[in-house]
């Protein structure tokens, strides 16, 4: 589903070059649930933005669902994002002047689906996240947990092959976080590939596999040997379990 080989991301200014990711290699199989962990500034978010085609890589290769993403135009990248990727953000990122229904409708609008098909999909996904009765509500009228459910519904409505979640429970209390996590697990059980960035080792432990990033490089926990960038795995034993 997702294959990164020797991937680097460099931010350059006139005086300094900063490597956010350095020759990172990672493969995520179809249907996997992978948790990405690492300290602040380690490159987790940059990894997620590149995986989500929100940023371009500086070097290396990134194949998404069999498509080489290097050299794609903005239009091609937007289309891939729209059709293959669903995003769940830490702060939900719902558009404040749209209702729940309209927020979920956004990715479908850009796909150009007819109104009847959009309505069918939105109704189905709202039922799945248990928010059918809140369809006409605005984000400001809902709790954090409900807003994150809306965000998940928006990510799922396009039936993406890959769900990218950035600290999906970071702004939620324990009870709400549990609900959101159960929802993600349910989505995974139904066949979705999920890559989740998290600080919480307990949440990461619920994923099938944990990946640890430090200084823009991959280290692995519980990772199949053939997917590990050789030589770094042994270092992980010395890494703190609470990375941030």
């Amino acid at each position: 589903m997702l294959k990164m080989t020797g991937l680097s991301k460099v931010y350059r200014t006139e005086v300094v070059e900063t490597y956010a990711l350095r020759e990172l290699t990672l493969e995520v199989q179809e249907g996997e649930f992978v948790a990405v962990m690492g300290p602040s500034g380690s490159g987790k978010t940059t990894f997620l933005t590149i995986a989500g085609l929100l940023e371009e890589l500086s070097a290396g290769e990134y194949w998404l669902d069999g498509v080489d993403t290097r050299g794609l135009t903005d239009r091609q990248r937007s289309r891939l994002r729209n059709e293959k990727i669903g995003f769940v953000f830490q702060s939900f990122n719902l558009i404040s002047d749209l209702t729940v229904h309209e927020n979920i409708d956004v990715p479908l609008r850009y796909r150009g689906l007819p109104a009847s098909e959009r309505r069918r999909r939105i109704d189905a996904v709202l039922e799945r996240v248990g928010l059918t009765s809140r369809a006409r509500h605005y984000a400001s009228e809902m709790s954090g947990g409900q807003q994150q459910r809306v965000a998940i519904a928006r990510a799922l409505v396009g039936e993406p092959r890959l769900l990218l979640a950035d600290e999906p429970t970071g702004n939620l209390d324990t009870q709400m976080a549990r609900g959101v996590m159960e929802l993600l697990e349910d989505i995974h059980l139904r066949g979705a590939t999920i890559v989740m960035v998290t600080h919480d080792p307990a949440l990461a432990a619920r994923a099938q596999r944990q990946v640890y990033i430090s200084d823009g490089q991959i280290m692995a926990l519980g990772m199949p040997p053939h997917l590990v960038d050789g030589g770094h795995a042994s270092q992980l034993a010395t890494q703190p379990s609470e990375p941030v």
Partner: protein
Amino acid sequence: MFGYYFNLALRSLRRNIILTVLMIAAIGIGIGASMTMLTVFRAASGDPIPQKSAQLFVPQIDNFGPQSGMPAQYADLLTPDLTYIDAIGFLRSQAATRQAAMYPTLLAITPTDPAHSPMQVDARATSGDFFPMFDVPFKFGGPWTRTEDDGHASVVVLTRKLNNLLFGGSNSVGQQLTVGGKPYRIIGVLDEWHPAPRFYDVGAQTFSGEDQLFLPFTRAIDEQMSTSSSFNCSGATGPGWEGMLHSNCIWIRFWVELSTARDVASYNTFLHNYAAEQQQTGRFHWPPHVALRNVTQWLSYNHVVPAAVDTLTSVSFALLLVCVVNAIGLMLAKFMAGTGAVSVRRALGATREAVFAQFMVEAGVVGLVGGLVGVGLTKLGLVSCRAVLDEDLSVLTRFHGSDVLIALAVALVATLLAGLYPTWRAMQVQPASQLKAQ
């Protein structure tokens, strides 16, 4: 997607009412000021007879010569009118396809219906060619012919307005009308015809003047009907009407219709030869100095568009520019405040083109609403102009339906142009920015 973007634009504009009102006010004020002056300018500078303006010409000839006492900077200018001698000379030459000598006069008319009192009307003594030459529309009857010109016929053509007044709008062709105490037969009634500016007689009432009655030039000369317009002489004039006719006084306007470039060249040669002949006979003591100007050249030569209107139009468009620049700033503030939502949309699959379309539709909505405000302000501005301008120019302050469309189009184009930079900035928002900001 247009409906979707339109809906988003309305929500966005409602979200920050103060910024929205300021943007609309900036566009509205700019449009109001510029359209007020543009309306006046268009009315003043429009082509009054576009289908023929390139074929209608005023021949000019220097009757006064270089010793006329004109200041040096005006020495090259030619007077607009001709002497009776030259007008008759031109008429007899038959050098043009159509030709008309004319002058305005004031006439007393006595309606046959005793219910109407005698009245004085603005009239025009002219040749029968006047009507087909200027495409004058007739409601009843038609113009007089060259035969009637040559026969000095006692016939008149009334305007629709005068016919309504005297005959209640019915077909008066064939009826009698007493003009200057003598009976005239009505042979035609005009339909509505109000060329603006009144190109065939630019002068004191270029925009508001209106002839009520037309009669043959030859008949008017016979009846010694004097001109109601300017009458300028060089040298002494003989006694009485005959003395005036044979004087070197200019008071007759002359128009010719020349259909082809060859006709124009030929008429220019005629004019030059005519002036040379006058020099040879000793009437002119200067070399030929002539001109032939078509309608647009004629209006420009006579500075029909008042200089003040010209200047104010430029100033008003400068104000529009200032307003548009203000609108750019306001839109930039508004659009950049919404970059969070842009970045989310980009993450969810919006292309840069989609962001461009969304924000341009929003700019367009501001432009249309600003245009409507501008239309209201234009009407207000024109009312103010009416109070300030001369009576003759106040006719220029009429606001037509087409002006509303022009105002809206100008507002839309100006706002879309103003929205280009803010929209471009919004397009540059990186979709990763929301993730990075967390």
